[in-house]
């Protein structure tokens, strides 16, 4: 009996063992069969999916944290051709909501390009419109009989960010814009396009939840904080618009900079565009230089350049503030007669008088006294003919002809000394003038205050380009410019604040000849003189009420300076000096 049990047990063990062995053999055979490779390949195909990420383009803020460029969600609306139930319903719903052509939509759905299973019907659709369609799709699905599909089955919505500018046209010339392909044009958007980034990226994402940690992290673009003060920018644009009307000018520019560190606080241009409607660019601008003339439209600045001629003469020891000369009203330079702006003699003048009365003959006299080598060396060191390096796209270098150039003539030494025959942008002149404020050092203007990435903020330090003049020359010249303004009783003066500055009236060359009736009126000034906190440049193109910078650009400077001291909380000199004394 016991033997019988033992045999039965052995048979049972044998059978079980055989079955187990068969299972193992079969498993091994299946694992190594030809079909297994196919299944493995299929599994591999589903292990990862190609997904498009839309990282947010970096935001742009003003220096006080006000958003100038952000992102908002828009929708791509498409159709999954494999799941479409009723193309007519989709075409009707989409055409009604989005105002598109019904026939066009139905044609795209019914005759799609070969090989496509998904087609885009519309993109950059407002969130509200997409939401309405989504609601309609949901309602139709709920109303469909049990087990069947709704009429808008197959209609798909994909959200993605789009650039948005909450301030519309404010500071448009500084910010630039982004097109629908995500590329930045002009200004900050173009200059820092790579940093701001935020372009769609296609990456493989693991579908296996155990590999969730492998989900790639697509970083958003770097956020930028500008040196611009939004309120000051708005004030500059308003004052510029009013000035154009008041003086009948065809265009203009106002730039406000902190001369101590090169931070641009405001930069107003005549033509501005609503950046949310960038497609209007062609209708607003005739050429690219009009987008931001302060950096990209060089012009003959006229008498504001006398500051630099005087600086060169003082620094080279050619003159001192007390040096006098007899102004006869004209001087012959390189075979051409140079005259004063009023074509009158001004008698004996010292160097402060030269600046105060803006005498061309005086400037031509001291430039010829310095000689071409010295004069052009100083002008080159001031940055004329060179890019400033400002961090906005589209900068132009202007032109400074020097001896040896094919088109340089000896008369240019005379005309260049008072700002004719050379071209420069307002920002180039401001950069050059910053040397007078900074005890001889020129500061590079910039619009970027800081960038923020991964929770860290990197502030941009001030950069200095060189030292074209000594500190003593700078301080002496600043004093001369202050006195000349005050003595002249300039319209640029600001009650309660001492400011220094210089007007400029430059004739505009038309068909190779200067037209006496068409001028560029300019003014550059800074203050408070003993502790300069702002530098303002005003350029009015072809003012018709008066051709003179002293009657047009100078009062605009005054208005802008008055607004600037309020918005920047700069107390009047007396109060500030009392505060400092404490």
């Amino acid at each position: 009996m016991r033997q019988q049990y033992a045999r039965r047990t052995q048979v049972l063990v044998g059978v079980m063992g055989f079955i187990a062995l068969a299972i193992i053999v079969q498993m091994t055979r299946i694992q190594n069969s030809a079909e297994a490779d196919v299944f493995r390949q299929q599994a591999a195909n589903y292990a990862y999916e190609l997904r498009t990420f839309f990282p947010n383009r970096g935001e742009i803020y003003d220096r006080n944290g006000r958003l100038l460029a952000g992102n908002r969600t828009v929708y791509e609306i498409g159709v999954d051709l494999n799941t479409v139930k009723d193309p007519h319903a989709i075409a009707y719903a989409v055409s009604t909501e989005l105002g598109m052509d019904y026939n066009q939509i139905i044609d795209v759905i019914q005759n799609p390009p070969e090989g496509l299973s998904y087609i885009v019907i519309a993109d950059f659709i407002e969130a509200q419109q997409a939401l309405n369609l989504q609601e309609l799709k949901k309602v139709l699905q709920e109303q469909a009989p049990q087990g069947s599909l709704g009429g808008l089955t197959g209609l798909q919505f994909k959200s993605h960010p789009q650039r948005s500018y909450p301030e519309d046209a404010l500071a448009s010339n500084i910010i630039g814009f982004v097109n629908r392909e995500g590329r930045g044009y002009y200004g900050i958007e173009e200059k820092y396009d790579t940093l701001l980034a935020g372009n769609p990226v296609q990456v493989l994402v693991p579908t296996d939840p155990n590999k969730a940690f492998e989900i790639p992290r697509v970083p958003d673009g770097t956020t930028l904080i500008l040196t611009i003060n939004r309120d000051l920018q708005a004030a500059a644009e308003q004052i510029l618009d009013e000035s154009l009307l008041e003086y009948g000018a065809q265009g203009g520019t106002i730039v406000v900079m902190d001369p101590r560190n090169g931070e641009l606080l405001a930069n107003a241009a005549t033509r501005r565009m609503d950046l949310n409607q960038f497609w209007n660019y062609g209708a607003i601008y005739d050429n690219a230089s009009e987008f931001n003339p302060a950096i990209s439209k060089p012009y003959e600045p006229g008498s504001v350049t006398k500051i630099f001629t005087m600086a060169a003469a003082l620094d080279s020891g050619s003159v001192t503030p007390g040096t006098t000369y007899l102004d006869t009203g004209s001087i012959l330079v390189g075979g051409a007669v140079i005259q004063n702006w009023n074509q009158e003699p001004w008698g004996v003048q010292d160097m402060t008088g030269c600046l105060q009365h803006s005498l061309n003959v005086c400037m031509a006299t001291i430039s010829t006294k310095m000689g071409a080598g010295t004069f052009y060396n100083y002008m080159d060191n001031f940055g004329f003919g060179h890019l400033t390096g400002v961090d906005m796209a589209g900068e132009a270098a202007g032109r400074l002809k020097i001896p040896g150039d094919e088109d340089w003539y000896p008369v240019d030494l005379g005309t260049n000394s008072f700002g004719q025959g050379l071209t420069a942008t307002p920002l180039q002149i401001m950069m050059a003038a910053s040397s007078i404020v900074n005890h001889g050092r020129t500061v590079i203007p910039h619009a970027l205050y800081a960038m923020v990435r991964d929770g860290r903020q990197y502030n941009v330090p001030a950069q200095f380009a060189g030292t074209p003049i000594s500190a003593q020359t700078a301080d002496t010249l600043s004093g001369m410019l202050t006195v000349s303004l005050e003595t002249e009783g300039s319209l640029a003066l600001v009650p309660g604040y001492r400011v220094a500055g210089k007007t400029g009236t430059a004739q505009i060359p038309v068909n190779g000849f200067y037209d006496n009736t068409k001028t560029n009126a300019s003014f550059i000034g800074w203050g408070p003189v003993d502790d300069p906190q702002f530098m303002i440049y005003v350029w009015l193109e072809r003012p018709s009420i008066s051709i003179w910078g002293s009657e047009t650009a100078a009062p605009v400077f005054g208005k802008m300076a008055e607004k600037t001291v309020i918005l920047l909380d700069i107390p009047p000199d007396l109060i500030r000096q009392k505060l400092v004394a404490k």
Binding site: N71, R72, P166, E167, P209, G455, K563
Partner: protein, 155 residues
């Protein structure tokens, strides 16, 4: 009863075939129970890891959606407080821009002029998945696979 007989019985008891069979069966069952326990723990951990992974996937998506919504709201807020909107609201409330001669400067002890905006917060310590020890995110099969690969590589 003498002592040799007792020892004989004890020896016979110890070598009894049924007792040896029971010992074998017991050991086999113990092995099966141990394997079952390992399998249970493995299944439990794997399923929890899979659920956690799926939650991570969902949360990653939620973060992306939240960031989009946040960006939307931020832009809407900026539009509502834009320079032109604020000026219009101020004018509607009866305010007007101040004239330069109306400004009075008062010395306020301790007042400091506004400084440029600081946007960044202190960087937060983030637990990165890749810094977690493999014991916490590696499946048994992954571990076996790694060991086999390592031993192959060592050869």
């Amino acid at each position: 009863m003498n002592i040799p007989n007792v020892n004989h019985y004890i020896h016979a008891y110890k070598v009894a075939p049924w007792r040896i069979q029971r010992q074998w069966i017991g050991n086999a069952l113990l092995a099966v129970v141990a394997l079952a326990m390992v399998a249970t723990v493995y299944l439990n951990i794997t399923s929890r890891a899979a659920i956690a992974g799926r939650e991570i996937q969902d949360l990653t998506y939620s973060i992306a959606v939240s960031q989009q919504v946040s960006g939307d709201l931020q832009t809407q807020l900026a539009s509502l407080t834009s320079a032109s909107a604020m000026e219009n609201r101020a004018r509607a409330l009866g305010f007007r821009p101040i004239e330069p001669d109306e400004v009075e400067y008062l010395v306020v002890p301790g007042y400091s002029a506004p400084q440029p905006y600081i946007l960044s917060s202190a960087p937060q310590l983030q637990l990165r998945a890749l810094t977690i020890s493999p014991e916490f995110n590696q499946s048994l099969l992954d571990w076996l696979d790694e060991k086999i690969s390592t031993s192959r590589g060592a050869r």
